[in-house]
């Protein structure tokens, strides 16, 4: 039976189910709960409609993604009873996720009664009440739970009676909804792990006339037709999972019949379908989507069976080819099999196979890759190119709830890194190369602007990381209070800014000894003697406050062997099998003539 039920789930991924099949499957899942290889996911739902009816669809769609839904429904006025009452049962439980699916009508019941005659002042008052209500809600949850919180934004049908008049009212319903949604974005910024579910865009995409079931709204407080209950469930899950799953890092595309119509090597550059008219416009539009994925910080790579020279020439010279070689982080145009090329791309970009998505029109190639590299996410590309774009976005691999500053520049950074590597070959020795980079290192103490990125680095960097201590933002603030000094390191050079790429934390010990609690550098800036510059900077800093010695520590991990001899190589004196000491009065640790060093003001 164990194989049975889990096999059913495995086979679900591409199948379109009828509503009855959902109900049937969902029930099967609950009956075989203990046999399922699924991760439990506890969600507390809050709504003023009968959200329970979504359960089979939520349950089955979550199972497809490897989760087992354990839901707690709080419907009809339960928000007030359960959230605003500190002795309610909800506070005795634990949840992975809180989901508030409130509707405009819940916030402003009887809006029609006062819609005419609404002026700016009254509208502001309504919005202020709304803001207080939501903040109060979030405060209560946040003070008691660390869970992710999702809250739907708002949308509503225009009152038919006023639909023509609407736009000439001083304040229209649409105005209010627009302002509520704006306000909601501002409110959630004050909290961590609070996200918006975009119900506004859901309703816009499908349209109220399609999704609303008037009879069932009145009869059983179920506002949505069955078909759209399924769509809504899929859409809710997509958003929720974006918080739980790590987005993929790289999209590898084929070229012929994928990014353009036709086969370049056979049809020749003049007969390729790509341009402003049908069918070339489909491919051009698809290329635009690929570029928009790149803007999310995703590496775009190419694996194609073609002559590299032909392909690059075509991409550079064809003005309708929006995707240029400079956008491509790894380029494999050769006659090797695609699995080998994907392996190479994974090494080149230093990312795991499981963070790669593969998009190829040929079923043969896809099956080969699936078979050879089961970790790779292979998209089942439909035959019809009109569906490429939809299929790629529906795969949800690149969904992100937030976009960090790093995301925005990652592919560009990688591009400059490629240039850097190319120029490296031109120099006789490494010092000459490093000096030619004209580096500028900016060192600043930790502050509100950089604490987020600092904790990101602390939790991510493995190789150049001497102690691999994983601190979160709260830990960092606590260390600072205890007198630790936390410096962040930013490296720029003539090719560009690599961003915040290093952290060093020093801890005061008795006898004016300072211990290097943490020292890490992102692999992006390794091999440039930056570590020596930093340690020298620390030493000079400590002279000023009458420090006597620096104690370096190395705690081995599976991945940091690269730095096991760092202190030894810099002539620190060995004190124990994991600590080394530097007497500050010995002078310079490193004679820095390789870069400019700037200390940012506090």
């Amino acid at each position: 039976m164990k194989i049975g039920i889990n096999k059913i789930i495995n086979d679900l991924s591409e199948k379109k189910l009828t509503s009855a099949e959902y109900i049937n499957l969902s029930r099967k899942f609950y009956k075989n709960k203990k046999k399922l290889d699924l991760k439990p996911l506890n969600i507390a739902f809050f709504s003023n409609y009968t959200l329970e009816f979504l359960e089979p669809y939520l349950n089955v769609n979550l199972a497809k993604k490897g989760y087992f839904l354990s839901a707690n429904y709080n419907t009809y006025g339960m928000i007030e009873q359960n959230i605003f009452n500190s002795s309610s049962e909800i506070y005795t439980k634990e949840f992975d996720i809180f989901f508030f699916d409130l509707k405009f009508e819940d916030i402003f019941p009887n809006f029609e009664d006062y819609q005419i005659g609404l002026n700016q002042d009254k509208a502001n008052e309504l919005l202020l009440n709304f803001e207080n209500y939501i903040s109060n809600l979030l405060d209560n949850i946040r003070n008691n739970f660390k869970s992710h919180i999702f809250i739907s934004n708002f949308s509503s049908q225009v009152n038919n009676v006023y639909s023509i008049l609407e736009q000439n009212l001083e304040i229209s319903k649409s105005d209010i909804i627009f302002k509520m949604n704006k306000l909601l974005i501002q409110i959630i910024k004050k909290y961590s792990l609070v996200y918006i579910y975009n119900y506004y865009s859901f309703s816009l995409n499908y349209g109220f006339h399609n999704i609303i079931d008037t009879k069932m709204s009145f009869l059983a407080n179920i506002p949505f037709k069955v078909k759209y209950q399924i769509k809504l469930s899929e859409s809710l899950i997509e958003t929720v999972l974006s918080a739980l799953l790590t987005p993929k890092k790289c999209l590898i595309c084929d070229l012929d019949n994928t990014l353009w119509g036709g086969v370049l090597g056979e049809d020749g550059p003049n007969n390729i379908e790509l341009g402003e008219s049908f069918p070339g416009n489909i491919y051009k539009d698809f290329q635009r989507s690929i570029l928009s994925i790149r803007n999310l910080g995703v590496f775009i790579a190419i694996a194609t069976k073609n002559d590299a020279k032909d392909v690059i020439e075509f991409m550079n010279n064809n003005k309708d080819c929006l995707l240029k070689p400079k956008h491509i982080s790894a380029f494999k145009a050769n006659w090797k099999d695609k699995a080998s090329n994907i392996m190479e791309i994974s090494k080149e970009l230093n990312i795991g196979l499981d963070s790669i998505v593969f998009f190829d029109d040929s079923k043969h190639e896809r099956d080969w890759v699936k078979n050879q590299l089961p970790e790779v996410n292979v998209i089942n590309v439909p035959n019809n190119p009109l569906l490429y774009k939809k299929t790629l976005f529906k795969s949800t691999h690149f969904n992100k709830l937030t976009l960090s500053e790093e995301d925005k520049v990652r592919p560009v950074l990688f591009e400059t890194e490629k240039k850097r590597r190319l120029s490296k070959n031109k120099f006789k020795n490494i010092e000459e190369y490093i000096i030619s980079l004209k580096m500028k290192i900016t060192i600043s103490k930790i502050n509100d602007q950089n604490i987020n990125r600092t904790s990101q680095l602390l939790n991510k960097v493995n190789q150049f990381n001497l102690t691999t201590k994983r601190y979160n933002e709260n830990n960092l603030l606590k260390l600072k209070e205890e007198g630790y000094i936390i410096y962040t390191i930013r490296v720029e050079d003539k090719f560009g800014d690599t961003g915040l790429t290093g952290v060093i934390i020093i801890q005061p010990l008795p006898n004016k000894i300072w211990k290097i609690d943490t020292f890490l550098l992102s692999c992006r800036v390794l091999g440039r003697n930056i570590e020596k510059v930093i340690l020298n900077f620390i030493s000079k800093k400590l002279i000023k406050i009458n420090g006597q010695a620096i104690l370096g520590e190395f705690i081995p991990s599976k991945k940091n062997m690269l730095v096991k001899d760092l202190y030894k190589n810099l002539n620190f004196i060995k004190k124990s099998n994991k600590t080394w000491l530097w007497e500050i009065n010995k002078g310079l640790i490193y004679d820095n003539n390789i870069c400019e060093i700037v200390e940012a003001d506090d």
Binding site: S19, A20, I23, F53, K215, M216, L219, K225
Partner: protein, 81 residues
């Protein structure tokens, strides 16, 4: 055609009410089917509407008091289309 509809309806009832199809017949009603409560009734209505692509009036939805009456309403609705 009636037979076809009957088969589909029995199947839907069996799924929604979680009861083997062999335990159902045309006369099954809320008194003979344990899971036939107001919630599963609503669910059933939605399933029938979506399966047969019909739109029941509220009264029609509430007047389904046996599998047989469900079949009759579906046939009547389909004739109207």
């Amino acid at each position: 055609m009636t037979n076809e509809i009957e088969k589909k309806v029995l199947n839907l009832f069996s799924i929604v009410m979680d009861i083997p199809i062999k335990n159902l017949n045309k006369n099954s009603n809320p008194d003979t089917v344990e899971n036939w409560d107001s919630l599963s009734h609503v669910k059933m209505i939605m399933e029938i509407e979506s399966e047969f692509n019909i739109d029941l009036l509220p009264d029609e939805a509430l007047e389904i008091f046996s599998i047989d009456s469900a079949i009759k309403i579906i046939i009547a609705k389909q004739l109207q289309l």
